[in-house]
């Protein structure tokens, strides 16, 4: 832990500015910018091929960007900084024939821990993730889900300042998802900066302080869920018994979907909600009338709609 106090911790920030990377004809990242501060969990969402993995690999120095800068703590990232990063790549990879304790201890030592500290950290993290009984087993003897836990242990074992997790929830059972999200929130509480990518939007919504939506290598939107919601038109749910085609006659109103709970309509800013209510009353008895907050899924659909 940093003994110089909170001031120094606050400075710890991953700053990615105008990152650009092409692979032949394919533009993987196009002027992408984002930042992750200490104590913050940032979720990276987007289709397959949106550039999430390229972005993380660039931070870890595995691929070099064509343009743009990546800084940590205000300076360009070097090998010494990366010793304080924890990384879980999209394509998992550990030594299949190595025993769990030896494996986690080895990676801890590569990150600069001495032999006894590495052993202690490896033991404690394996125990915390429910693998305490299997310290001397080879990785290959474990189930897919448990191998993934070991991968997570390797990312966490040296108590990193910045965590980069590429789809850490993929392939986990609900229990493991729960324990991983708790772990992440606890790490953030302890001052870690965390960036993770996921396709599980409800999870991102629940765990993250901020969300970055990537598409075609570009940042489409970034901010807290509340901030992002403001970009969406407000949504009204209205149920009129016996009919559902009444909103078609109104201007400035768009039907999002309709189901047994009524009609969900998007309304433009400044639209007259009382006029909508009157129109509904004219159509029949109104059973329900109220604003509905949109989730990340709606936002995602809205942002990525062609």
């Amino acid at each position: 832990m940093d003994v110089s106090g909170m001031g120094a911790t606050d400075l710890r920030r991953l700053e990615i500015s105008n990152l650009h990377r092409e692979f032949g004809e394919v533009v993987a990242l196009e002027d992408a910018s984002l930042s992750v501060g200490a104590g913050e969990i940032v979720g990276l969402v987007g289709r397959n091929g949106a550039g999430k993995t390229t972005l993380m690999r660039s931070v870890m120095g595995i691929i070099g960007p064509d343009r743009g800068t990546i800084t940590w703590d205000g300076h360009p990232i070097g090998q010494t900084d990366r010793l304080r990063f924890g990384y879980m790549p999209e394509e998992r990879g550990l030594y299949p024939q190595m025993r769990l304790l030896a494996q986690a201890g080895y990676f801890a030592r590569l990150h600069g821990l001495d032999a006894s500290a590495a052993d202690r950290a490896a033991r404690s993290w394996l125990e915390r993730l429910g693998l305490g009984e299997r310290l001397d087993e080879k990785l290959i003897a474990l189930s897919h889900g448990n191998q993934q836990r070991v991968q997570l242990v390797v990312a966490l074992v040296h108590d990193p300042d910045l965590l980069l997790l590429d789809e850490p929830f993929a392939g986990l059972d609900p229990e493991a998802v729960e324990s991983l999200s708790e772990t992440l929130m606890a790490r953030a509480e302890a001052g870690n900066a965390i960036l993770f990518s996921s396709h599980q939007l409800e999870l991102v919504e629940r765990v993250c302080n901020r969300i970055v939506v990537l598409d075609g290598g570009r940042v489409l939107a970034a901010g807290s869920l509340a901030e992002l919601r403001e970009r969406l038109p407000a949504q009204l749910r209205v149920k009129v018994s016996g009919t559902s085609d009444w909103p078609a006659r109104l201007s400035g109103v768009q039907v999002v979907r309709e189901d047994e709970r009524g009609v969900l309509v998007a309304i433009e800013p400044g639209a007259d909600t009382q006029a909508i209510l009157r129109a509904a009353q004219d159509a029949g008895p109104v059973e329900h009338f109220g604003f509905e907050s949109s989730g990340l899924i709606d936002l995602y659909r809205h942002l990525l709609s062609p």
């Binding site: 595995i62 790549p89 030594y95 030896a102």
Partner: protein, 396 residues
């Protein structure tokens, strides 16, 4: 953490992974058994170095026992004498192979019973003994005093002066040359493949991506090469020490003393050859997309090793070949050809030193080239790259 300690950490993991592996233990045992057998078995087969077992049948023959021992030592022939009761027992013993010859002495002469033929050496021993014994009894009958008889029959010391040293162990040298080249070919292919397979495993299991985010590729590569090299040296040292012990115990082993200096030469050229080839094999391992492709990508590297071995076997028959002398300075061929030239005795010391220097330059160039390919291809996904493509990949 310093660069050096990271390399040692990586090397340490390689060593413990291999020491734990059953395959490595089994190959060590097989190599040890093979080398000890190579030392001991020729000694067992080569009976000439064993004492000739002579059975003396009946009192007449047994009387010449002391005389036989004295003659054997004068002729520098090893003989073990055994008294046998009668002719039938002696025949049985010769038949069963517990005696090489059974000698009986009669009034008109002596009879030697042998399995097939009487070797010239044994014939000389027996004839000389019988003749001396006969002369002793004639001289005694003539009334000469025993001191005079002893003096008359004492062997005349014979000193040998060689004008030119013997063509020392030409056959043994040729065998040693081929043996050394074959040995270096095998161990370089073995440990080269271990490096290539290890690199390919890290690449195809995607462990490399986690590693490269922490460790510099150069450190990872150097640690792997050093770790596997140390396991290799250990695996070689065990059979060599076992062979030395076996040779000390089984004195009969006919290894000419001037061939023993080949051992340090082999270790030196193993180290140099490994330095050159291990990095090339590592680069080959990094270009694959799937583990099985290691076999294909390493073929171009095993060819020069094989050619080196074949040239060494030609050299064994033609130790002064100028073409092979020139080729022994070509770095990929040096590790097998230079020890072979040392074995046949046609490599002056200055040529050995020159070859070592050329090797060091070649290793330096290879480390740079291989590191470049390794860095560019280790965390790259997609199909296997040809060597030419691998060189063109932009690093990072």
């Amino acid at each position: 953490m310093s660069r050096g300690s990271v390399i040692w950490l990586v090397a340490g993991r390689e060593i413990s992974e291999r020491v734990e592996s059953r395959a490595v233990r089994i190959t060590t045992v097989i190599m040890t058994v093979a080398v000890v057998a190579a030392v001991v078995v020729p000694g067992l087969i080569h009976s000439s170095s064993k004492p000739t077992r002579v059975g003396l049948v009946g009192s007449g023959a047994q009387a010449i026992g002391p005389s036989l021992t004295a003659t054997a030592s004068a002729l520098k022939v090893k003989a073990r004498i055994e008294k046998v009761r009668d002719g039938a027992t002696a025949r049985a013993k010769v038949k069963h192979g517990s005696l090489d010859v059974a000698l009986s002495v009669g009034s008109s002469g002596a009879t030697a019973v042998v399995p097939h033929t009487l070797s010239p050496q044994t014939r000389a021993l027996l004839t000389a003994t019988l003749t001396v014994d006969h002369q002793r009894s004639v001289l005694a009958a003539a009334g000469l005093p025993p001191a005079t008889i002893r003096e008359a029959l004492a062997p005349v010391p014979l000193a040998t002066v060689a004008i030119a040293p013997p063509p020392s162990h030409q056959a043994a040298r040729a065998v040693a040359a081929i043996g050394a080249a074959l040995f270096l070919y095998l161990v370089l292919v073995l440990y080269g493949n271990a490096v290539a397979t290890g690199v390919a495993q890290e690449k195809t299991s995607r462990t490399a991506e986690v590693l490269i985010s922490t460790v510099r590729p150069e450190q990872l590569l150097a640690g792997k090469v050093v770790g596997i090299g140390m396991v290799g040296l250990g695996q070689l040292a065990i059979p060599v020490v076992a062979a030395l012990i076996a040779n000390a115990i089984e004195q009969s082993a006919k290894i000419p003393s001037d061939v023993w200096f080949l051992l340090p030469a082999c270790l030196l050229f193993f180290a140099l050859g490994y330095g050159l080839y291990a990095f090339a094999f590592a680069a080959a391992g990094a270009t694959v997309a799937r583990q099985e492709e290691v076999q294909i990508t390493t073929i171009p590297l095993t060819i020069p090793l094989l050619v080196g071995y074949l040239l060494a076997s030609i050299l064994a028959g033609d130790p002064h070949s100028p073409a092979i002398a020139v080729l022994s300075f070509v770095p990929p061929l040096t590790p097998s050809l230079m020890p072979a030239r040392i074995a046949v005795g046609t490599a002056p010391w200055w040529q050995v030193i020159l070859a070592v220097l050329i090797m060091l330059v070649a290793i330096y160039a290879m480390v740079r080239l291989a590191t470049r390919i390794y860095k560019a291809t280790l965390v790259r996904s997609g199909p296997r790259l040809s060597w030419r493509e691998a060189l063109r990949v932009r690093p990072g």
